[in-house]
Every structure is written in C-alpha cells, then in structure tokens.
Amino acid sequence: MLASVSYNKNIGRFQSVIALLILCITLSLLTDKFFTTANGLNVLRQVAVNICIATGMTLIVLTGGIDLSVGSVLALCGAITAGLLKNGLQFPSADLFVGFTILGAVLAAIIAGALLGLFNGFAITSFKVPPFVATLAMLTIARGLTMLYTGGHPVSNLGESFTYIGTGSLIGIPVPVWIAALVVMLAVFITRKTRLGRYIYAIGGNETAAKLSGIRINRVKLIVYSMGAALAALGGVIVTSRLDSAQPNAGISYELDAIAAVVIGGTSLNGGKGSVWGTVIGAIIIGVLNNGLVLLNVSPFWQQVVKGGVILLAVIVDKAGDKKD
C-alpha cells in the first residue's frame, strides 16, 4: 500500500534508498577507501552498463514480462560493433566493401539489438509464447550467433577514438555514466510523462482492463521488448569499447544482475508496480556491494556468500516499508 502510494514520487520507493544508505554508511565505517570521489566514480562506471540493461528490463517487467536474453544480445551486438568497425561489411560476391564510422557501427549494433528484441516481442505477442521461454530461446540463439559471427575469437584493437566511449571522461565524469544517465532520464520521462508509459503500467496492472480500454497491447509490448534489447546492445557497445575488444562470452548471466536490480528497486515481477528510479538504486546497491567486498578484501568464496546475504537483507529492509496484515 504505502509503496504503491509513493511509486510516482521521485525516487520510487524510499526504502531502497535507505537500504543503500545503510550499506554505504557501513562500508564507510569499515574502510576509508570507500567514501572517496575516485571510488564513487569507479562504482558508477561499473554499474553504468547494468543500469542501461536494467532500465530496459524495468520497462519490460512493468508490463508483466521478462527478458532473459539481454546478456547474449549484449555480446552479439558488441561483436557486431567491433566487427563492423574492424572489417566493415564485405560482399565478396559483388566484391563490394562497406566501411563503418564509429557512429555508424554503434547505430548498426543498436538497431540490430532492437530487431532481436522485436523478434522476442513477436514470439510473445503473435505466437503467445511466454516471455520467459521466448527470451530464454533468444538467450541461446543470440549466444550461438555471437560464436558464429566471431568464430569464438575476440575481436580486438578497435582504435583509440572508439575506446573513448567506454574509458573517456567528460568534465570529470566517465562517459558510460553520462550515457547511463541519459538512458535513465529518457526512461523516467517515458514512464511518467507519456501515454506509452501509462500503457506500460496499465498492461502490467491489469491486461484485460487495458485491452478493454482500447490499448493496443501487442504494439506496446513490441516497443518495450525492442527498447530492452536496444539498451542491452548499447551496453554491449560500452563493454566492447571499455575493453577495446568484443568478447564472444561477454554478458553471461547479466540478465540475473539486471533483474536483481529491478526487483531490489521494488518493481514487482508481476508487473504494474515499480519505477525506473528504484531500479537505478537497485543497480547501485549491487555495484556498491561488489565494490565494497573487494575493498574489504573479502575472499572470493566468502564474497558470494556475503553478497547473497546482503542482497537478501537489502530486500528485507526494502519490504519492511510496506507493512500489511
């Protein structure tokens, strides 16, 4: 109840913020390395990609859907950018060669992503395949395509100027953070200020009612799944640029991190309830956690245990807010 009231408020559910604060304060007390500008930017740079993906995921989850394919889509589209930058498009038959500018390659990758998402959307809307399966299938397919496209080998050395996307900074703030910020702003705008956003919530809240109100359910879903995959593709571009190399097995199990961010942020997997802001907080919680565990020199095996425990706690704190009988 309480939560549902505050959803339209600026920062989704404030409980997630509290969870985050508790986490940060604890870490600041445990190590002086945590609360520094350098480390702050560090965390932000690291969560930027997950924020992009999780933002798209939020829109999908709000409609009551889910997208498991983001990790593979990220890998495939990362590979596509790299491939186009490096080898362009060759048509040996017509011995034709098309070179790509950085912008061109990036756009191509994002469009490719959108198309993959569209494919998900079609399977879900036209063939009534449950989102979980449709995107699970895509998870496998896109990974396979990545392997086929790269032959299982990374595509590297993509040039200074391309790596700027992932490694550069603008007025002291890393470019990936800028990109993530833009993505979030856009998503917040869509969810709060546009028809589309309204319909996303409506479909997740009560699909029948939405349908009876004349909302074109399928169209909305197609849009949402395309956006989700396009954002995953964007994530792929960032990762690739950051490493100056497209890894065939990049993004494995990223879907879990993204969904975790969404849920920790208080968005209900049944759809209809939640906010992009919440997801951002959720993503940051996960990022801070990973960062903190390393700063505290927790051994890798213990890290997993602690990480799981803290995520659980974060959500419990989070739930503590919505009290009911």
Partner: protein
C-alpha cells in the same frame, strides 16, 4: 437507435445467445432483464466490441455495423460499464478514468493536471469523496464501481451501457446515479440499464427487454407492466417471498463480540472500527446495514481473523473465548465468510467449479486420511450445483466461464459445505437474480432454522428488512443502532446510517 438482429453467440460448450432480437431507443432508459446466465452481459459485450465473433447483425442508426475492437465501438459512440470491475489497481482514479484516452499537450506529454481536474469534477457529480490521485487498490468495491461509472460518463457517448452498475453501491449513490441517468436521457442518449433490482428498474427505466436462456422473451414499456408479470416473464413461473418477522423464540447466545477496534493499515491513528460490541444468537439472522465505507467489510474481516495485527477486542463463540488470528482459526471456530469481492477474494477463476466448491472442506473428503476421494467430491459439489441452481455446463467448467451471479453462488456453496455455526455474508446477493435471491433467502431461513447464526451485510434496505431478525447499523466505523426487526423502518435505519457531520 441500436438494433440487434437475431444475434447468437456460443462459447466452448455453452450457447450464451440464441437468436436475440431487440431495439434500444434513444432518449430512453432501456432495461435488459433476465436471470443469471440469461446472456445479458454477453450481448452487451458484443455491442461494445469485446466479443467480435458472433452470428447475426447489429444495426446502428440504420447502418449495419461490425465492431472489430472495443476502440471501434467506443469511437462509434458506445460506452459500457462492465459488470465485473475492469480497473488497473496500481493506477490512480484519474489515470483509470482517462486510460486509453489520455489528455496530452501539443508535445504529446501527459497533461496530468487537466486530467486530475476533469476527474475531480466527475467524482463530484457522483458524490465520490476520494482524491483523484488515490490508487484504485485502496478503494473498496463500491468506490471502484463509481470510478467505472465515471469512466463511462466521461466518454460522452451516445449509447451508454450499464451492466449492473449499482451492484456494489448503496442507495445514496444510486440516487446520484439516477439523476445523472435522467440528465443523459434529456440529452437524448440511449441508456441501457441491467440490474436485478426491480425496484430500481421501475424507478429509472422506460422500456424493458426480457432475456431468458439467450433468447428474447418479450419487450415493451415498463409503465404498463407489474413487477410480478415481469418476474413471471424472467423466470417462466410465479415466485413469491413473504417477509416473515422474527421467528426465533429463546435467545441462545452463539457469537459475542466485545469492543472490536481496527486501526487503519497506514494511518495508524484513524480507526476503521471503533469499539464495536454485539451478540449473535443461534438461529438468528442479523442484518448489517451501512452506507458505503461504513466499515462493514472490515468488521466481517476482523471477526474472520484477517487483521490480526491491527485489530483488538474479544470474540467468544458458544461462550468459549476464541483467539482468532487467521481464517484457518476462524473456520476452526465454525465461522465462515462469504467475501465482498467474488473475483478477488472468493474464487479461483482459472479452476473448475468443483475445485472451488470443495476447497475449504478437502480434509473431509479424504480416504485413508491422505488421499482425496474424487467420488465424494463429485457428489458433494453436484449437490450444491443442483441445490443452488448454479448454471454451468458441468462441475468441470472453469469458474471464469460462469456468469456473474452464478459465480456468487459458487462462493456461497463453498462456505455452506463447511457447515459453519456462524455464517458471515458480505453482500451475498450482489449480482444475483431475483429468483436466485429468493432461493438464497429461503436457504438462509432454513439454515437459521437449523440453528446457524447468520450475519448479512447488505446495501439493500428491502433485503435487510426481508430477512433479518435484528438490524445493526454502522456509520463511519461505529455501531450506531441495534434494532429488533419489529420496530425497524427504512427511515429509522437510514437516520442511523447517515454520517453525523
């Protein structure tokens, strides 16, 4: 003028409509009446473009039309208030009213302020005192139904279909609705009004169409027909229910409730229930009246153990003190609750009628203490399907496929199967046709005669007066009256129900 030319509609198994013909006149209120499952809602869903597969023809203003979607029907100027609520729980009242037709500014950005204002106006017309920003999930059924009405009113359509619009609201709101309907009439709009409350029909409708088993039985002007004749046409037979005054002689206390209070789930200071005490005797039927939002549902829910954290007070059953902290314990104490909202609280829509009826008594249907006895279950459910005349193709039919009224009967059956000592009914006859109503009243009487204590929430005074042995009245979470039926009158009851301020 909207005309249906022998419309037929089949669903997997059932024939809902079988060559229906009717005319709906502009500037008039056209009542569609018929028993549960007669096909009223189905027909309306065809008019409003929900069902697009059907035989027959719809002629609208002289033109044959075929709606391909709810949108196309709406654009043609047909609006509908569905029998079952169709709102988005986590969106606000305003957002629901404007769903699918949001107001946007030149840049395509939502104009929330405008929509809030418009909604506020509509709500005012309907005397619904909630903020347009409130989430639907926080409203009660009655309040939600008013929002549905507001939705339909906003789309200034020329045909407005109302499928049991008053099933969840009380007389006060009904009056507002009627004045609005009259306005619509004057504007020359076609109003289609479906209700099982004959009193209302005679009060507001001009023409009537009777459906039975998916066929048109007759139609005409209401002023030249009596309610008995109408009932005869609907049910195909005469039917009478005479008011029997207080029947029980020796009062033997069954349930006693002392100082029950309930805090609001969020605003801890405000109390939804305030020190309520009363008793219920063996064989007594206790009517509980109140305006919408009086706290009746909360009272029922609290007795049934649904608010363990926020409630206080004592409950004794048969003189024994009972700690009731969960429905399971309530049932253990011999209490049953037929909840207010059958769709959300009463039924598992996706499951069969049989599974729904037997769910609360499975432990009594076991062999060797752990295996379900399918045969016993069949028998049990068959009894109730027959006993309550539930209209379904079979016990295997999914509950969601039944008509509104028949769904209500399933919930009733589920609880009767537990043979409770105390039966709490929250709006038990909501959306139930007169025939079935009469059956339910008879049933209540006979159950009471067998010593069951029954407590019935109702927003229909006639109903309260017809069946109660004693009438409780609530207002704003407080018990304002406790009147023996002998000296209970409509005016007296209403006086106690109206808010003090």
């Amino acid at each position: 003028m909207l005309v249906a030319k022998n419309i037929s509609k089949r669903f997997s198994g059932v024939t809902a409509l079988n060559g229906v013909n009717l005319e709906l006149h502009p500037g008039k209120v056209n009542a569609i009446i018929g028993e549960n499952g007669a096909g009223k809602s189905t027909l309306m869903k065809i008019f409003s473009g929900v069902h697009t597969q059907y035989d027959g023809e719809i002629i609208y203003n002289g033109q044959p039309v075929k709606f391909t979607s709810t949108k196309s029907a709406e654009q043609a100027g047909i609006a509908i208030i569905h029998q079952e609520l169709n709102l988005v729980p986590y969106l606000s009242v305003a957002e629901n009213i404007f769903l699918g037709r949001e107001i946007t500014n030149s840049l395509g950005i939502l104009d929330k302020k405008m929509m809030k204002e418009r909604s506020a106006e509509l709500l005012k017309q309907l005397n619904l005192a909630v903020d347009p920003g409130t989430k639907i999930a926080e409203l009660k059924v009655g309040q939600q139904q008013l929002v549905e009405i507001a939705r339909a009113l906003y789309s200034n359509a020329s045909v407005i279909i109302m499928d049991e619009p008053t099933s969840a609201i009380s007389d006060k709101e009904v009056e507002n609705l009627f004045s609005i309907i009259r306005k619509l009439k004057e504007e020359g709009k076609t109003v289609v009004y479906i209700s099982h409350k004959l009193k209302e029909l005679f009060a507001i409708a001009d023409r009537y169409v009777v459906l039975r088993d998916g066929m048109t039985i007759s139609s005409g002007n209401l002023d030249v027909i009596t309610s008995d004749e109408l009932i005869q046409k609907m049910t195909g037979r005469k039917l009478s229910f005479e008011k029997t005054g207080c029947t029980l002689k020796d009062k033997q206390e069954l349930l006693s409730v002392k100082n029950i209070s309930l805090k609001h789930p969020l605003l801890r200071i405000t109390k939804l229930l305030n020190n309520i005490s009363f008793t219920l005797s063996k064989g007594e039927i206790l009517g509980l009246y109140g305006l919408m939002g009086a706290g009746r549902t909360e009272l029922m829910e609290t007795i049934f153990g649904l608010h363990p954290k926020n409630s206080s007070g004592e409950i004794t059953v048969n003189g024994k003190d009972r700690k009731i902290k969960s429905p399971a314990q309530a049932i253990g104490a011999g209490i049953a609750l037929v909840p207010e909202d059958r769709k959300l609280q009463g039924l598992i829509l996706s499951q069969t009628v049989r599974a729904n009826i037997s769910i609360a008594v499975l432990q009594k249907l076991q062999r060797l203490g752990f295996m379900l006895n399918a045969k016993k279950e069949k028998e049990l459910t068959a009894n109730y399907i027959a006993g309550l005349a539930i209209k379904t193709s079979s016990g295997n039919n999914a509950a969601k496929n039944l008509s509104g009224g028949n769904q209500q009967k399933i919930v009733l059956a589920k609880w009767l199967a537990t043979h409770p000592k105390i039966l709490l009914l929250d709006e038990p006859t909501r959306g139930v046709d007169i025939n079935a109503k009469a059956e339910i009243y008879k049933l209540m009487k006979s159950l009471a005669a067998e010593g069951m204590g029954i407590m019935m929430v109702s927003s229909e005074l006639p109903e309260i007066l017809a069946v109660s042995d004693r009438v409780l009245v609530m207002c704003e979470g407080e018990l304002t009256a406790n009147i023996p039926i002998e000296n209970a009158t409509e005016t007296e009851i209403l006086k106690c129900a109206i808010h003090k301020n």
